[in-house]
């Protein structure tokens, strides 16, 4: 009992001594703000979920700052840095000030995390955190399927205002910030990592420092073009067939209107089914303006035009009543090539605009 009490008292005394030695306050020795150099390296990209707007990845976050309180005596100036990994690093970070940065767009608890710490004789500290987790990534669909996306990592410092702690980066951080040699993502080409400062507005006019690291990925459009664009252009032929299949002899239509209307309505169902399928596979497409939604609009527009042409010209002969049989005949001939030409010109423009 006595031994246990002694051990408890000893551990309490040790803890108090450790706390007394530890100085976890902001290092103001070099003035404020404390500059924390930030760099991010993408080690592995596991997946990119376009529908959820998230990606799973393993990243290395490197933070560098100076704490003059950790300077070693001049005699040790040329000594190698003290290196801590794993548990010792965790323990050491409890004893010194470390910037309380957070990965602001992390979606769930990390599946893996490791910590490394190097403290140089000059008082320079380098902390590297490896994190495997899911992160949110804003998904821009305007240029789909010729789009480039940014897999972002938001490194934010919300505990201290930018006047106290500032996240920054220099050439060394740019050199560190890149995708690892083995990083690959199916259907995408992996590019470079860019760093950008993007402060967050805080209370009472203050702001908080934030650095956005963005891995640039470019979609390989080939498979999408085959899977979505070819059906979309093919379905555009249905309303055009409903125009072409009609026949006019000496100013008189010879095909019953209801047969052509049946074809148009069938086309409508085909386009609706295709629309549903595409939206189920690529949910963000349904929300915004992009080449796919525009091509669907052209399809619906062409179906509407086909319906109007058949009903107004063939069924009710509106133009014949107003301007004569031969004007209607010539108008029909013109519409038979003008509607397809305009539909495909518009479709091509939509695709080109997305590709530029």
């Amino acid at each position: 009992m006595k031994a246990a009490a002694f051990a408890l008292a000893l551990s309490a005394a040790c803890a108090m001594a450790a706390n007394a030695a530890a100085d976890t306050s902001l290092p103001t020795g070099k003035g404020l703000p404390v500059v924390v150099h930030t760099a991010v390296s993408f080690i592995e990209i596991v997946s990119f979920n376009e529908n959820a707007g998230t990606y799973k990845a393993t990243v290395d976050l490197r933070l560098r700052w100076e704490d003059p309180r950790l300077r070693r005596p001049a005699g040790e100036a040329n000594d190698p840095p003290k290196v801590y990994r794993g548990q010792p690093a965790q323990a050491r970070t409890a004893e010194i000030w470390v910037p309380a940065v957070e990965l602001a767009n992390q979606r769930a608890k990390e599946t893996y995390s490791a910590l490394g710490l190097r403290i140089f004789p000059s008082g320079a500290v380098e902390m590297t955190r490896r994190v495997s987790a899911e992160f949110a990534a804003p998904f821009e669909v305007e240029r789909f399927p010729f789009d480039r996306q940014k897999l972002r990592l938001e490194v934010a410092m919300r505990d201290e205002p930018a006047g106290a702690v500032r996240l920054a980066f220099d050439q060394s951080d740019l050199d560190f910030s890149r995708a690892g040699a083995g990083v690959a993502l199916d259907g995408w080409s992996v590019g470079a990592v860019a760093l950008r400062s993007d402060p967050i507005a805080g209370w009472y006019g203050a702001s908080h420092s934030r650095v956005l690291a963005a891995l640039d990925i470019a979609r390989q459009p080939g498979p999408i073009v085959a899977a979505i664009f070819i059906p979309l252009f093919a379905s555009l032929l249905i309303p055009l067939l409903a125009i072409w299949l009609n026949r006019i002899e000496d100013g008189r239509f010879t095909i019953e209107t209801f047969e052509l209307i049946n074809l148009t309505v069938g086309g409508l169902f085909a386009v609706i089914a295709l629309n549903f399928t595409v939206n189920a596979a690529y949910q963000p497409l349904s929300a915004g303006d992009n080449a796919v939604t525009r091509l669907f609009s052209i399809n619906y527009g062409a179906l509407g035009a086909s319906l109007l042409i058949n009903v107004l010209l063939s069924r009710f002969a509106v133009v014949e009543r107003l301007a004569g049989r031969y004007v209607q005949e010539q108008l029909f001939y013109v519409l038979a090539w003008a509607v397809p030409a305009m539909s495909f010109a518009l479709g091509a423009a939509v695709v080109l605009v997305a590709a530029i």
């Binding site: 070099k30 590019g191 100013g251 004007v327 005949e329 010539q330 013109v334 519409l335 423009a349």
Partner: protein
């Protein structure tokens, strides 16, 4: 030649030519707007850089004037007391260097002899008049100046102030030199610009004898220049090549694609107080927004032109053939039947023909009636 084919072809060709011409002019107009926007961006980049360099020079001069006015500095410079100056200002310099990007502080004696370099106290007594004309001028004219120069420890933005002894006589000068690196990094953080500083290698090797040797390594050589600082080395290596910066006497502008992004690049020559060329600063900004807008505009203009041609061609065809040629064809058939001895009976209604055609149809009807009367 048949009117049926040649008349619509002629009219449609004219329509197509006119619309194509208008589309071309419209595209030129929009390209002009895009160029004006980009020109504005270039001017903004130049203005930002000019202002930043000017403010830095003023900042350096303000520091120099503060020190020059301090009694302890005046006494020590007048007494040429290096140890006192070092004891007095060494800590100030250490703080300024660590926190404020002050790279160099130096006291001089007339005409331009180094009394003390706080950044390199072991080097003194050398004559700077050959490569520091600003120091010579300030000692001669006894009026403060600021500007760019290459000093023994490298290029910097300097402010030089005259120092008077306690009796008010000119005793020497003091200068503060600000490092370019933090300035360029600050511009990147504030405006998203990418910047690089290139200095003449010949002058660096001749004058900057105390510069970090790593800065003069082969990997930093760009033609006759050395890259001293870059906010994004890989990107700027593509945007500012040796051929681009080799002969920049005036601000130069161009656009170039790097890493699949179009950039606008501004090259600003740097000169010292005497107008001697020292180097070049390259500033780059992402122009993808304006370029993509111009491309999209061209596509939509071409699409609208195609629509206009199709619609107008349709109108030409419907009017010519529907109102003129097809009724003529009907009347021709009727008259042909008459000529062949038939009665030229009217099988198609002509009440929807235009007035002129109706008159013609009535004439044909009258001829047919007359023929019928003669036959009966």
């Amino acid at each position: 030649m048949t009117f049926r084919r040649s008349a619509p072809a002629l009219l449609i060709s004219i329509v197509a030519i006119v619309i194509a011409g208008l589309t071309f002019l419209s595209d030129r107009l929009f390209s002009g707007l895009t160029a004006a926007v980009e020109e504005g961006q270039f001017q903004l980049m130049q203005s930002i850089l000019d202002t930043t360099l000017r403010r830095a020079a003023d900042d350096a001069l303000a520091r120099a004037e503060i020190v020059a006015a301090m009694p302890s500095a005046r006494q020590a410079v007048a007494a040429k007391d290096r140890d006192r100056l070092l004891a007095e200002f060494n800590e100030m310099f250490a703080i300024q260097k660590e926190r404020r990007g002050v790279d160099q502080v130096q006291f001089h004696l007339p005409p331009a002899m180094s009394l003390l370099r706080l950044h390199a106290p072991q080097r003194s007594g050398d004559d700077l008049s050959r490569f520091r004309p600003m120091v010579v001028t300030v000692n001669r004219e006894r009026a403060a100046r600021n500007g760019l120069a290459i000093a023994a420890t490298g290029p910097a933005i300097f402010g030089v102030a005259p120092v008077r002894d306690p009796q008010g006589n000119h005793a020497g000068t003091v200068e503060f030199g600000l490092n370019f690196g933090p300035l360029l990094d600050g511009l990147k953080a504030a405006y998203g610009l990418e910047l690089a500083l290139f200095m003449q290698e010949k002058q660096l090797r001749e004058f900057a004898t105390g510069i970090d040797p790593a800065l003069l390594s082969d990997q930093n050589r760009v033609g006759p220049f050395m890259r001293i600082h870059a906010t994004n080395r890989d990107l700027l290596r593509q945007l500012a090549r040796d051929g681009d910066i080799a002969a920049v006497n005036e601000p130069a502008r161009y656009t170039r694609e790097a890493q699949d992004v179009p950039y606008g690049v501004l090259l600003m020559p740097l000169r010292d107080d005497a107008g001697q060329s020292l180097g070049v600063i390259a500033v780059a900004r992402d122009f993808s927004g304006s370029r993509a807008a111009a491309g999209r505009s061209l596509v939509w203009q071409m699409c609208l032109a195609a629509f206009a041609i199709i619609l107008l061609a349709g109108v030409v065809i419907v009017v010519l053939r529907g109102l003129l040629l097809r009724p003529l064809e009907v009347l021709d058939r009727r008259l042909a039947a008459l000529a062949e001895g038939g009665q030229g009976g009217i099988s198609e209604p002509s009440d929807r023909f235009c007035t002129e055609m109706q008159r013609l149809a009535e004439r044909a009807g009258a001829i047919a009636a007359a023929a019928k009367g003669r036959a009966s």
